[in-house]
Symmetry: D2
Subunit: 363 residues, 4 copies
């Protein structure tokens, strides 16, 4: 009897998330074999040589070399955003399935090039990893909305609250992240597109401040931002995104319908423990999005693997990932200019309202 | 030994809230005596004749007549918004202390006339009743913010969620309410002014939909709206206001600072009971804002009475009530026009951004 | 038109609870007038002279004198437990309605003398104040159980958790309190009798320790105790009572039925505020039973007043208060002796099981 | 380079839990290989032939045959309780590591035979699987208690609430389960032994009823039981165990110390979703202990595997599993007889108190 075929996966980028993706495919995906990893960073490769190579995982410095690794079926891309699109396109060209970290790119146009490349190879699975779509709670909420228990879902309120990183890592990262809306709020935008079934954007507005990291202003970025989105079909959504959460990771979502409402994670909790001390009761929170969503990343990897091996449709449509970039980058622009960004009913941008430019304020 | 002096109070307007104010002064304010009530509505007066008159409360049809009631010290105004200002001014002219329901008026200019009248009579106490300022939880949060435990408070997220009234009462009420921002969200605007210590508004944006009551469009109103407010000092706030809450009254507030965050009522509860039935655990919610805030209304009446009798400062400054109307009415306008409304650093409105007018959408 | 008749009330005992009762009748009971107070303690009387006398409240040192106060209709007894019964009986003899703090006495026999006295004067209202029966959450739960939503209620789990009093006040108080079961757990016993509709006790068992106050052993008392109660009809209940709660007052109850379960106050909260600080989310608790139940005490006083004025039945039957003492004192005995206390089907005690006496343990 | 050695595991018993153990070792334990399974039940073996055999897992009918499977290192025993001990002893005799489901046996004596067998083979890892010790929340609580944040832990309150199984499966199962204390409450007893560091039992008392399944009486079992445990060092614990939970799986624990308190799972939740519908807010619960604890079972399998491969100490001492059976079976006896079961300070049972035998009551 033949053992079942497994998916041979390479992971490029071994930074914080890359390590997690690599270990995830290594340990937690029964139908996948981590066959190779790649990083241009010496320290990251050293980690891989120490941790993964003894188990037979090949370690590459050069991405094109890894793409030629014998027998590799698929690539997981967790490098910096600016190379997501070219690396995805190169992998497609090399005939590999691709799981690419969000966002596809910081601009709509570049994101679209990925879709174009993928369209030419319908035999390959290409998926942008919006991890929340694989989280058990979001899926439960989604199923409930689809079942109609809240009537017509028409309003969303979203929050992506990253725990404060006192090292200020994200300041320099802002140079190429596309900004906080494109880097963080894109998760909420994706949730809106998911729950609102691909509704088309009509307008976006946004404001923001630098409450703790004024240096972000040099990159046209902020640390606390708010945005509002109108969709063509009359639904609306608001997002609040912050890099200043003190207590832990706070990602919460409200989906409000004509006959009810669903919330996900309104009061974050790390586990089932509560601590009673003088004055009150305390509970801990996940300290980063990995602690909150690590199971979702496993599910994502497992399902991507299944799609590749079983030739089924990926659960997140690639076109939706482009729409998410379009909305998120428009929010970033609206925040920088102080103007509303408006789209016509074909989804094309029309001249934005000529409001006064946002004055930069340091608290 | 002489019995202590009590405040003789008249209540005008005996609708839903008026009845509550009257009974509140009648039962729950030890230093006040409900001496008279007034309503132009026959049914309301009949209620008063039946309920209050047997205990010696005078019942009037004409407001000016009530103002001449012998020995009356103060008036509580809970009529329809359009007469709040003239009735307050008339009471001041008659030398009465005034507790006026929010808002003072639907326009900034009219609201200001109340302040002008009050300024000329510094011997009288004139207060606009923003009930949340008297709620124990909001006060606890306020004290904690002042104590510095969240660092600098710089972001607020507010929700005023009125339980769905299937009678559609609020549709006709919209004709003179000033709209959902002026009628409901003004509570959140007031909270922002309170917690942000009177910060001056710089800009407001808003969007809205009619998810359940398309007839609101004829009054330029909506049933679900969102707004964003920028303040001169760089703080920001968002509001979500709805008349469509299914589960009950949902008024929640988040105050986010550089060193922590406070929330008030993130998951509403009616009491301490939880119900375990097949499938899960259930708890009930207050079914309207009175159930949620009735204690606050009592505190408000008690403290207003104390201020009048003891000649101390009222806890809500009247000027703040004007600022709240200014911001709330600007939000309403921003929603209707689709344009951001911008203020200069003197707080004067400058021409709003000439965006495309909001297209009216019916879901 | 004549003003409505009011109930003239005297309060005896002005300790911690007595002051609260006096102020409650003074401020919060519209149909009652606080007409007199009485205390044998100089400091307490001085407080009354300063606080209440200026409003016309008479202050007595001698209880019999107060009973002769002209026009007094009713007495509220909040003295030390050992005089509850004689003072109640004296008030009945003087023709007064009586609201007596729990417990009626520390023994069943003495408790019964109160019932006997009351039975001879059916024109008078005599009620033992079990405050939880007047709490909105307990009443809501009670109504839900009666409505049948949990099927047959057959198991109760109760907790009375008093916040730790570091002054050790309760050590000396133990000399005459009847012990922690009679002083504190009696609330839970009363709840069981209420929810289980006066079910008759069949047996009780109990254990206990002195975790923080070994000096309690000299009074045969403990600071943390547990008990189990079997009723004749096959229902069961457990109680946990502690004087060592660190975070605040923790009184919680579970009522478990064949088709569902109700809980009251499983996670105590002081208000609607949550505090986000590094590491997690915190909320405060009521710091004593008054903070938790003050509304219930007002409702109790209001309803007692109504019963007296309107000649209706008191909401807590006096016989139930005797049954509560019987069970609570049997629990205390079971804990001290280490033996189960058993009752026959007439409710008469039969010789307890001759287990080994409890060894005294100091942690 | 050699691939790392893996642990070859066989699973015996493929009932509800057995299937889960088999799939767990198959999918979720990177360092283990599921090499064989065994069941005397035709349907269970058919399932294995269909599900596991295609991947190379051998399927046995006879346990001794499986013990001779070439290269098998360890056995996971998830058969019915009555064969736990002999199968464990046989596996030890065959030189296999053993992970045995709880309890070791329904009697202390038989349980001890397992310890004796294991003691003779110190080279083998023999562990009784108390799953809660591997749950992240219990571990977090345990670490916090050890760190001293609640002072001296001296009181525990435990609840094991199995969701009602309307098929009545557990009635027949009661014939050999050892009863509800031995089958279910043993988890809570184990938690007490864990958190109280192996404290020795001094006495146990228990009561119980058949609220929904009177047929349990024929097996001397009940469906709702309560017990109290005294330990030699003066700590105390209570357990409530039910097979009647309507809303879902409810396993909660309170650990109360002299300086604070910890709770685990006071209000059970299935995930982060809350549902707002008319009347209130609802959330779902895990529908069985697997949904609540499946991660714990994975951790258990992973750690057991690590211990075998790395020759480290198993995280649950075998002697503790015997002590748990001793206490749990004494609780069952105390419930049946109505007598307290008392132990001397050597841990030997002394004659139990000669109380009246429990009368059997059907609600």
């Amino acid at each position: 009897m033949e053992p079942p075929r497994k998916l041979h996966v390479g992971v490029v980028g071994l930074g914080r998330m890359g390590k997690r993706h690599a270990l995830n495919f290594f340990h937690n995906v029964p139908r996948a074999i981590l066959t190779a990893v790649c990083s241009i960073d010496d320290v990251e490769r050293e980690w891989a040589t120490h941790t993964l190579a003894p188990s037979g995982v090949a370690v590459y410095e050069n991405y094109d070399d890894m793409l030629r690794h014998p027998g590799m079926d698929a690539v997981c891309i967790s490098t910096t955003t600016s190379v997501h699109a070219p690396q995805t396109i190169a992998a497609i060209a090399a005939g590999k399935h691709v799981l690419c970290e969000k966002p596809l790119a910081t601009s709509t146009d570049v994101s679209q090039t990925v879709v174009d490349a993928a369209t030419r190879r319908p035999d390959l699975k290409v998926m942008c990893g919006f991890s929340r779509r694989f989280d058990a709670s979001y899926r439960d909420a989604y199923a409930k909305v689809r079942s109609g228990i809240i009537g017509k879902a028409c309003v969303m309120r979203c929050q992506t609250g990253d725990v404060l990183d006192p090292t200020g890592f994200f300041v320099n990262y802002a140079a190429q992240s596309g900004g906080i809306f494109v880097d963080c709020a894109i998760h909420d935008v994706d949730l809106a597109l998911w729950f609102f079934e691909g509704a088309k954007v009509r307008s976006v507005s946004a404001i923001g401040i630098t409450a703790i990291e004024p240096d972000l202003l040099q990159y046209n970025d902020r640390d606390n931002v708010m945005g509002m989105i109108e969709f063509e079909d009359g639904r609306i959504a608001s997002v609040y995104t912050s890099r200043m959460m003190i207590a832990g990771q706070e990602d919460s979502t409200e989906i409000i319908g004509t006959e009810g409402k669903l919330t996900i994670n309104m009061i974050p909790v790390a586990n089932h423990v509560q601590i009673y001390k003088p004055g009150g009761i305390h509970h801990e929170l996940p300290q980063n999005y990995w602690e909150r969503f690590h199971q979702a990343f496993t599910t994502e990897a497992v399902e991507f693997t299944d799609c590749c091996l079983d030739d089924t449709q990926v659960p997140v449509e690639l076109a939706s990932a482009v729409a998410a970039v379009e909305i998120a980058s428009a929010l970033q622009e609206a925040m920088i200019t102080g103007n509303k960004v408006v789209f016509d009913d074909k989804g094309r941008r029309i001249s934005s309202s000529s409001g006064q430019a946002q004055r930069r304020t340091k608290l």
